[in-house]
């Protein structure tokens, strides 16, 4: 962790972020930072508020309190599509592909905010529009190639098996040229081999596109193998933050995952001994 504290280095700066659903506080005043080119994991037991946190950053939910600063600018009041245009790309926990469209079309939809041609230019097929389309298609194929799906470019996305759908979602998110990539459980439901593939893909994407990656993950192998920093949520509150090793040793975290240990006198002695 050699990241400097210069403000420009922070791509996402969240402070006091809160979401209430009626009486339930799903996310409770969470402070959180992601630096450029950093891979950060958000973990926590089920219902800890991880996806709610994501949805607030991506603009799907309006926060009940707190603020989200992206690249030095507040995202307050922006609609999801505007946030994508600002440079936050995302994938979804339950894959949400455009199943009737081809793989290439899915990726092209991802590029929406980076393309300009309006309906009139498309109707007249102006040279500028044609050039833009050609470039977009080439770039789309390159992205499909990155996730090793270019063979199926003209297949309907709904026909892909599960693991490939996750990879396609990743390519689609990258198509919006994000500076921050939000991945909601990118390896959920994958077999060990696919998981290993996904880990190297995420790392590779960070290296080549220079994006910061924020991921929600349950698979500890992924979390520990991939992330530079880990933040742990429980009941909407941040209970720990640090390097994967720090977090693994953190008592609060162990308690949140495994439950409180019934303390006996000899344990207290043992605890004292370790500190």
């Amino acid at each position: 962790m050699t990241a400097s504290n210069a403000p420009s280095d922070v791509v996402l700066d969240v402070s006091g972020l809160t979401k209430r659903f009626g009486g339930l506080v799903a996310v409770d005043s969470v402070d959180f930072q992601v630096r450029r080119r950093q891979i950060v994991s958000l973990i926590g037991p089920n219902g800890a508020g991880k996806t709610t946190f994501f949805n607030m950053v991506a603009g799907q939910y309006e926060p009940s309190g707190g603020r989200v600063i992206f690249n030095g600018k507040s995202l307050h009041g922006l609609r999801p599509h505007q946030i994508t245009a600002r440079g936050i790309g995302r994938t979804f926990q339950n894959i949400r592909l455009f199943t009737n469209e081809t793989l290439l079309e899915n990726v092209l939809v991802g590029m929406h905010s980076r393309l300009k041609s309006g309906p009139i230019a498309s109707l007249l097929r102006l040279p500028s529009q044609r050039r833009e389309e050609d470039e977009a298609r080439e770039k789309g194929m390159a992205l499909l190639h990155l996730v090793n799906l270019d063979r199926f470019a003209n297949e309907a996305a709904g026909n892909l098996p599960y693991g490939m759908q996750r990879r396609l979602e990743m390519a689609r998110a990258l198509a919006s040229e994000p500076q921050l990539l939000l991945l909601d459980e990118p390896t959920a439901g994958m077999n060990p081999q696919e998981t290993v593939n996904m880990i190297s893909l995420i790392r590779r994407v960070r290296d080549e596109f220079g994006v910061a990656v924020l991921l929600i993950e349950h698979d500890m192998q992924v979390v520990m193998g991939l992330s530079e920093r880990v933040t742990v949520l429980n009941y909407g509150q941040k209970i720990a933050e640090g390097t994967p090793l720090d977090v693994q040793r953190n008592d609060n975290v162990i308690e949140a995952y495994l439950g409180r240990r019934h303390k006996r006198p000899e344990d207290e002695v043992a605890d004292g001994g370790t500190h």
Partner: protein, 413 residues
């Protein structure tokens, strides 16, 4: 090996289509169909089919269905009041060109007299209908599915009612007539004789046939281009998953407004031609049943597939306007041939024209059960999905290596 994927795409042929006999056959089929459509009025004259007058409104209805297909098929917004835009188009054109319109006492002699020309009025009709589409779209954008359908249904009811009640402008239930005819190359459409290049020709309604054909062809052309554009992809994305679409940077509000507005503008042109062709328009031509028939054409043929929509339209309309009547005639003849009075009477009591809504309903139920996606579905999904493949036919690290290699990767499976 720091290749920037964005910079070095390495031209790959994503459009490569092997020449296959199926395609050649399709080409021939298309060319034949086109030739028949182009030559139809003369074939009709030659063989004495006398169906030209049925074909013109039929093609207008199909064009209408193509416009509705943008809203329903592409953007996935169920619109039950599409006939309202058709009415708005027809009335807009009539407003400018009809001697019955209040404008008729103002325009002639004024600097705006050119507005009374049919072609100008038709373009106006397109613009007015497009604006009306955007106007209706605006308040409905927050609504989804059933709720949206109900609001469009309401709009479809309001427009004919407005037309009925705004008598000073629309002449109420009596309707407006006559309506300005298109004029081209010295030929007033539908008025004989036509003088073209000094020749006096009796063309009858043939010019309308070609006008309708041209407008239909332009519509198809425009719709295909739109479908394969950034906006067309945004429509599909909104239809498939609105939340994911927003997450991809698509503004659902403007995307839906474009769908409503462009969809409506096609009905504007159609309405203008329809008015000029019939020479009279009245509110009852634009009732709810028109919206439903057009929607049926879209759904029956295959929502989202323009060829399907055209086929659906052709089937419904040709039955409605041609075959119901002719089939009845043939059945009566068949009855008479038996020579038996009771059988003849029984056959004569059979009237498809009277029961055409029944037949129509039965066919709809039947087709929707047999082919819920329509006759020509939007995209043929492969029967054997890719799940038959090995999950990942490349070794873990190899996969990433290949992904990064940039060139020569046609990994055959």
């Amino acid at each position: 090996m720091q290749t920037d994927i964005r910079m070095t795409p390495g031209r790959r042929s994503y459009v490569e289509e092997p020449a296959d006999p199926q395609q050649t056959r399709n080409r021939i089929l298309q060319a034949t169909a086109m030739a028949i459509v182009l030559a139809y009025p003369f074939l009709d004259l030659f063989f004495g089919w006398q169906a030209l007058l049925a074909f013109i409104p039929m093609m207008l209805m199909i064009t209408l269905a193509l416009g509705l297909n943008i809203v329903v098929g592409y953007a996935g917004l169920l619109d039950l009041g599409y006939a309202a835009f058709y009415a708005i188009g027809a009335y807009a054109a009539a407003f400018f060109t009809s001697p019955n319109s209040p404008l008729a006492s103002v325009l002639p002699g004024s600097p705006f007299a050119w507005m009374q020309d049919f072609w100008v009025a038709m373009i106006m009709a397109v613009l007015v209908a497009g604006c009306a589409g955007a106007l209706l779209g605006a308040p409905t954008l927050r609504l989804r599915g059933d709720y949206l359908a109900l609001v469009t249904l309401g709009f479809g009811e309001i427009v004919p009612r407005l037309v009925k009640n705004l008598e000073p402008w629309t002449k109420g239930v009596k309707g407006m007539n006559p309506i300005g005819r298109p004029y081209l190359f010295g030929c007033q459409f539908g008025v004989d004789p036509c003088e073209i290049l000094g020749m006096k020709l009796k063309l009858g309604m043939i010019p309308y046939y070609y006008l309708t054909l041209v407008v239909g062809a332009i519509s198809i052309f425009a719709i295909i281009r739109l479908r394969n554009s950034r906006l067309g992809r945004a429509w599909a994305a909104i239809r498939d998953d609105e939340i994911a679409a927003q997450g991809m940077g698509i503004n659902p509000v403007t995307t839906k407004l474009w769908a409503f507005s462009l969809g409506a503008s096609f009905s504007g042109a159609t309405g203008a031609i329809f008015g000029a062709y019939l020479q009279t328009i009245s509110p009852d031509q634009f009732e709810y049943s028109t919206s439903v028939i057009v929607l049926c054409m879209v759904i029956l043929g295959g929502t989202g597939n323009i060829w399907g929509v055209m086929l659906g339209g052709l089937l419904i309309q040709s039955f409605d306007r041609i075959f119901a009547e002719r089939l009845t005639g043939w059945i009566h003849k068949a009855g008479a041939l038996t020579g038996d009075p009771t059988i003849t009477a029984a056959f004569n009591s059979f009237d498809l024209l009277k029961s055409r809504l029944l037949v129509f309903g039965l066919c709809l139920v039947l087709i929707m059960n047999l082919r819920p996606q329509g006759i020509l579905p939007n995209r043929k999904r492969r029967e054997t999905a890719l799940t038959d493949l090995p999950e990942d036919d490349v070794a873990p690290d190899e996969a990433v290596m290949i992904a990064g290699a940039g060139a020569s990767t046609e990994k055959s499976r």
